[in-house]
């Protein structure tokens, strides 16, 4: 072809891997130019600089803000080969076997579809126009340092247990932090939310009060925002219990520090990310974008993500690209037959170990809610500032 195929890929560095870029280049000839920024900056750039990227890798819960801003353009399902094979966890909020899972909060299905390419209104059900083509998702829970806690942990309530005063941490994204707090509130039986991802003002007040009291009594060591912060806090022993991402736990463990991604009886808080295309992308560029997305869903990348502890959007293609023993360890919750290595070769688990939280179904089946932006988001953010100032 005359023009080189280049895509400017905006996202967080956590999701950008040189291996993937290399493989894409080999397979399709597309050059990926990573624009790596922090989580917050991804959304800000989408809003303010739609011309500075072609394809963006972002989270579903941000869509409630991004889509109405009109800087994204919906992707045509007809041009996505694996469109129909996208996991129902995303599209319908149910497991492949049809079991319904929790859909509190901004479950992907609520924001994934629109009526037309340039529509800024979400469609109630599946359409052929997708706002975000999913790439990966996972369920978060508390990470703990078993060596420092020295007793079993089984409930979200432990996060605010005074026993861990000065040694707990929270995620510093207000809309997510408050949901972790809501998990605690429910676990301690103080209140039962209709939807933890969409609270009423009274519920927000209540939850914030719980948080504020904890903060005032010195419960929190720090709030973290980035992957590495959560890892450093845990690894350095600054905190012993905090909400965490699965790969972060893996990262702590890989330094030889005991750390558990602790399944809890109240369930998980889940999230999903995917690709969207800037509205400035047209013509040839658009074709390249579709080619890239199709490649991404075709298996290699999915397998790559699965091996890091995420879940890929199209499970069958990923399975085909993985060794059976790997699939068994990561997805089926079975003890590892051989040593489990990360894509970069670091040893993650010795043979015989099992994955925290069990199989895919066990994990995703216990999702309690999804990362969300509430209708009362504005109120919530103000309350969050109040909480910080307290």
């Amino acid at each position: 072809s005359a023009e080189p195929k280049v895509l400017r890929y905006l996202g967080t560095a956590v999701n950008q891997s040189a291996d993937i870029a290399k493989k894409v280049k080999e397979d399709t000839g597309i050059t990926i130019e990573y624009v790596a920024v922090t989580t917050d900056d991804v959304t800000k750039r989408v809003i303010t600089q739609p011309n500075s990227y072609d394809i963006v890798d972002t989270e579903y819960f941000a869509l409630k803000k991004l889509v109405p801003a009109g800087n994204l353009k919906a992707m045509n399902g007809k041009k996505i080969k694996e469109y129909d094979n996208i996991t129902p966890v995303i599209t319908k909020c149910e497991l492949p076997d049809g079991t319904k899972i929790g859909d509190q909060g901004t479950a992907p299905k609520k924001v994934m579809f629109v009526e037309g390419e340039h529509s800024t209104k979400f469609a109630p059900g599946m359409t052929e126009w997708a706002t975000l083509i999913p790439t990966t998702y996972n369920a978060d829970t508390l990470g703990i340092r078993p060596d420092l806690i020295k007793r079993p942990i089984s409930s979200w309530a432990e996060l605010l247990n005074p026993e861990f005063k000065g040694k707990a941490a929270l995620l510093n994204i207000p809309s997510i932090g408050i949901m972790d707090a809501a998990m605690v509130v429910e676990a301690t039986g103080q209140h039962k939310y209709a939807d933890k991802g969409n609270m009423t003002k009274a519920e927000i007040d209540l939850t914030m009060k719980v948080l504020t009291d904890a903060k005032k009594s010195g419960q929190f060591r720090a709030f973290w925002k980035d992957f590495n912060e959560s890892v450093n806090l845990m690894a350095s022993g600054e905190t012993v219990i905090q909400s965490m991402w699965s790969p972060a736990v893996t990262a702590v463990k890989s330094k030889g520090i005991p750390c558990v991604f602790q399944p809890l009886k109240e369930g998980y808080r889940s999230w999903a990310t995917g690709f969207a295309v800037s509205k400035a992308v047209t013509g040839m560029k658009e074709d390249v974008a579709y080619e890239f997305v199709n490649w991404f869903l075709s298996g290699w990348a999915g397998a790559y993500l699965n091996r890091q502890g995420y879940y890929s959007a199209v499970l069958p293609t990923a399975k085909a690209a993985m060794e059976p023993y790997e699939w068994a360890f990561w997805m089926e919750g079975k003890p590892a037959e051989k040593d489990i290595h990360a894509p970069d070769g670091t040893l993650l688990e010795k043979a015989g170990n099992t994955r925290d939280g069990g199989s895919f179904d066990q994990r995703m089946g216990k999702v309690a809610c999804w990362n969300a932006i509430m209708d009362e988001n504005d109120y919530m953010v103000r309350k969050w500032n109040e909480f910080i100032a307290a």
Binding site: K65, A69, N172, P174, W224, E238, I373, N385, I388
Partner: protein, 327 residues
């Protein structure tokens, strides 16, 4: 004082036709007299123009957009271009009702002001002392430059990386705590070394002392050594000389350094965030939270409020010393 800085003489162009002896045909008519005697040099406004243009285009214009946006309405997901005070009223919500208790915004500003004051005072003392050493005790220009470089180089290692290294230094198991426990000064690690006001102030001092040093040093090197000698001669002690001669003469430098430190600390949220474990409120942090929630109008409104508050402080500072007049 230099003559160039003097205002052009007010009586510069009297009704000179009245001069009985403006006799010569060749004498230029008075009306044509250029104001002052700088007609020959590039006019001052032209010299200030490049900077003015940069600010006009890339600061004033964007700021105007921000100010406009601060008066717009917004909903969950978009800005609505209709005029409203909502962002302001909500920001100050409860401020009156809660009296004498403080509302969020006041509390936040009080915290910010406290931080600001502490950082200002510490950087001033350290910065002044360092400048004093460099200006009066380091004899050669080369050595001054070398030492200044020595102080600059740490800043060339990205702040991002330096920030991370505070944990191994100040953390629960950090170097300092280990040293203290080993030395038997404390028996349990000090918690307040990190993620506290202390660590925030420490990091600020670490970052911004040099912002004090540069202007104060520049004022100081301009002080004639003979003046110091004259002061000693008059029986002034070291401190008296410092207070009565050196300090007044480098006031402009002190004010400029103070402007740097005050403005940056007022608007900061990164350092407060990272070093305070994201648990300390500051004026900048409010804005950041709002922005990250993509709520532009309240963020803009808060920025306007911050601007007004800080300008107030700066105006007060320049009332004490008019740095432009001291040129």
């Amino acid at each position: 004082m230099s003559h160039t800085a003097r205002p052009t003489d007010a009586g510069g162009a009297p009704a000179a036709g009245a001069s009985p002896a403006a006799p010569l045909a060749a004498a230029a008519p008075r009306a044509a007299r250029p104001r002052g005697r700088h007609g020959w040099a590039p006019p001052a406004w032209l010299q200030a123009m490049p900077m003015g243009l940069v600010f006009a285009l890339f600061f004033v214009l964007p700021l105007a957009l921000v100010v406009v946006v601060s008066f717009w309405d917004y909903n969950d997901y978009e800005i609505l271009p209709s005029f409203t005070f909502r962002s302001y009223t909500e920001t100050f919500e409860g401020c009156y009702d809660q009296l004498p208790g403080l509302c969020t915004i006041f509390k936040t500003y009080v915290t910010t002001a406290e931080l600001c004051f502490a950082v200002w005072a510490i950087t001033l003392v350290i910065g002044f002392t360092i400048s004093y050493f460099l200006a009066f005790h380091v004899r050669s220009l080369t050595m001054q430059i070398v030492l200044a470089l020595l102080c600059t180089i740490p800043f060339w290692t990205s702040n991002v990386i330096r920030m991370i290294s505070w944990i191994p230094l100040l953390g629960r198991n950090g170097l300092v705590n280990q040293a203290l426990t080993h030395a038997g000064v404390v028996d349990a690690p000090l918690e307040w070394l990190l993620y506290s006001r202390f660590s925030v102030i420490l990091a600020f001092v670490h970052l911004f002392t040099f912002f004090m040093v540069i202007p104060i040093f520049n004022s100081m090197v301009r002080i004639d050594r003979r003046l110091i000698e004259a002061a000693y001669d008059a029986g002034a002690s070291g401190w008296q000389t410092l207070w009565n001669v050196v300090v007044p003469l480098c006031k402009p430098g002190i004010v400029i350094g103070s402007i740097f430190v005050v403005t940056i600390v007022m608007g900061d949220f990164v350092t407060v965030g990272v070093m305070g474990g994201q648990q300390i409120a500051s004026a900048g942090k409010i804005i950041e939270t709002r922005l990250n929630a993509l709520q532009f109008p309240p963020a803009a409104a808060n920025a306007v409020i911050l601007l007004a508050a800080t300008l107030l402080i700066i105006t007060a500072l320049t009332k004490v010393v008019d740095i432009r007049k001291e040129l």
